[in-house]
């Protein structure tokens, strides 16, 4: 007997939102373990941080990433009105801003006076910023995928959950960056 197993798009969208929210909880715990490592070592080590990385470039980078959050927000708003050109432009802009953030981060890593294997500070510095950069990279890939789907007419004003959760992920990565920036570059 053939059984009808079709279900509403609304039910699927709501599941996707729940699933992504749970995924972000798990990601938050991942960064939680890194912050724990950082503050634990910092609390027990006299003379921390050992190397004083410059905060100028990361401050600029914060603006880049926040601008990305802005364009992601524009994307999530635009998709409901159905303007495909503006939507794809906003997604592409977000991806480009993320790529710019990564480029600046790599340049900055290359100019630090310490390496991951110099000491414990170097290890936790590169792991914390590195894991965040990995998540930005994931965000760039996600934005490019959403761009490809938009250009190929897979996303419409009635089918926009993926844009919503994509922009939610971007805001999450932004929030984590603000904590990373404060922890690593501002609190001396």
């Amino acid at each position: 007997m053939a059984v009808s197993v079709h279900e509403s798009a609304g039910a699927r969208a709501s599941r996707l939102r729940t699933g992504v929210a749970l995924f972000l909880v798990s990601e938050a715990c991942l960064f939680g373990s890194l912050f724990w490592t950082y503050y634990y070592l910092r609390g027990l080590t006299p003379g921390w941080p050992a190397h004083f990385p410059s905060a100028t470039l990361p401050a600029f980078n914060t603006l880049v990433l926040l601008a990305g959050s802005g364009t992601a927000w524009v994307a999530a708003r635009t998709v409901r009105r159905g303007s495909r050109t503006r939507l794809s432009a906003a997604l592409l802009a977000t991806a480009i801003l993320g790529a710019a953030f990564l480029a600046v981060t790599f340049w900055e890593w290359g100019h630090e006076v310490f390496r991951p294997w110099t000491d414990a500070y170097g290890s936790v510095f590169f792991t914390l910023t590195g894991f965040h950069a990995l998540h930005v990279f994931g965000g760039v890939v996600l934005m490019l995928a959403l761009y490809a789907r938009t250009v190929r007419h897979k996303i419409s004003s009635r089918n926009h959950t993926t844009i919503d959760v994509g922009s939610l992920y971007w805001h999450f990565v932004d929030l984590i960056w603000i904590l990373v920036f404060t922890t690593v570059f501002l609190i001396r």
């Binding site: 699933g19 490592t37 070592l41 000491d119 190929r152």
Partner: protein
Amino acid sequence: MKTVADSPRANRETSEGSAEEGNLSRKLSILIAVCGGIAGGGITMLIRLGLGLHFWGTGPVLVVAVLTGFFAYLSASLGLRVLLSLDSVRGMLTGLGGAAAGMCATSLLRRASGLPAWDADPVLTIGMLTGVACYLVSLGVLNDWWRWATGAPAREERRRPIRGWRRYFNVDTSHKVIGIQYFVTGLCFLPFGVLLQLIGRTHMIDPHLGILPSAAYESIISDHGILMMFVVVLPVFSGLMNYFVPLLIGARDVAFPRLNAFSFWLTPPAGLLVVLSLMAGGFDTGWTAYPPLSASFENPGMDFILVGVYLAGGSSILTAINILTTVFKMRAPGMSFFRMPVFIWSSIATVGLSLVFTPFIAMAFLMVLSERLLGMGFFNPSMGGQVLLYQFLFWFYSHPAVYIFVLIGLGLISDILPVFSRKPLFGYKGVAIANPAIAIGGTVVFAHHMFAAGMPAWLRVPFMVTTLLVAVPTGVKVFAWTATTWMAKMRLQTPLLFVFSAVILFLVGGLTGVPLGIVPIDLYLHDTYWVVGHFHAMFFGGFLMTVIAAIYYWFPKVSGRMLSERIGKWQWLLMTVGMFLLVVPMLGLGLEGMRRRINDYEFAMHFQALHAATAVGGLMVFAGLVLLGRNIVMSLKRGPVAGDNPWGARTLEWMVSSPPPEHNFDEIPEVLDRPHMHGVAGSVHARVGSKQASQGEQE
């Protein structure tokens, strides 16, 4: 066991296959297998000679010979074409190729940059990673996501769906197929883990015979621990959740079927890496892998464990997302939280814990790996690191993990007991709420593993108090079970017998755990056999016995056939006696001061009889598992047909046929009341049309 569970269908398929394709006779297949084995062993010896090693290494040569012989046998009896059409076989072969390519590339890169070409740690680790990546790509679990990301049109359904045993060796998104895949994968590794430790126990009967050198003994007990927890318990429970959570809440599948398939297929390589660790020299840190030993230990066996656990952990996070979303979003109409079976409550408590805490062990293991590969310094005091930091991160996961390993078992007890007691579960709400209570309480007790580790002394008392508090919701459960059996007209069938043993063993484990939570006693008992006895009672009571009860309870639903009660009762007797024989002497040894993870003791201390009793107990547990395997094989072939509801149970899975139809429910049932209201007049758990879940009951 993988072929065992599907053997009747497998046999039918192969006989059909041989009729159609004119395959070879069994004798010829065996001959080909022997030739294949000899060829595999010979090639290994040649490679060893080429690498400048002695040509004979018992472990690698024999393992490769057995594997190639097995592969040759399968390809002769099934036909190479059939074999290669299976996603799993193709994935495994591609994975091996990818690993070899990754290792070669790493060696070449190292040579090009002026380093010595061979350094076991980085070369093997990168080989593992490229191998797993190639395996996943070749399996095809990523195809749909690639299509999604590029905006390509979705894949069309297969015109001829795969049927029979082949489904279980291919990537499949049905939650019931994945459930069986998970469960059987876990069960495959179970006898291996037990056998491994039996060698160690045999050694301990008379350590002066020197059956195992000290390093080998330590590798064996460490691998036994990691294997049992991450490659047996996690997949077995994931399997049960995958199969039964959608059925019990009235859903047609889990929330994200493709993600589900992906997370299952991470499990086989994880298990393989944990087993291969022994081939690569093992690791002698114990399952806890504390640095500085784990970070400086020379054998690359450590890397295998770190990567393997990483894969298993990733798989359990994805399963957690899936199960939680399924329970939150896909319950049948009327299935409020307080109408869910306790198994569902325990499942969400368990996966909630793995969702939140697995990242901590993931990071801790990654940091150890980075110390080994890159010389980073998180835990290295000479670089400004802190050794205790690892223990905090590790136990922050690994204490909640012990609840991950038992909570589902407790849920199974709570659901099976009322069915055979023919009474409602006593204090349903309390038992249900005890699950999140244990989960939440269990998150703030982790440092009790470190009372003797030199952590700040002021942390001791708060963690002692929280530890003792967790005993309260656990006690609630035990009281509720006891009260459920009070004045009940019990049906003493096999699942109930196993549940009884589980409750009593769990009680033993719980009561022996309380002294460990008390700081002054723990300082004496820390790292003795008392601890080993305590957590083995917990694992037997919370995991092994409950899972076997679940096998006897749910096997009729999954296969449509009953298991033999006669073999089941013998197995119960053998395993119950064996488990007590294993656990109680360990507790005595601990009180006498026998340290764990030590492969020697003085005969003058009179430990020998207790060690021998433990070994006999372990052997009896293993014999019980063999009986179970035999029972499953026999019943799959010619067990009596079960019917829809052989136990007169009331939960939703018993309302559908056995085995359940492809989409579980033709019509989604409507839930009206709590489960397990046996003997309560007029109470109906659920109904579909005119069919009620109390049908088929003989009150």
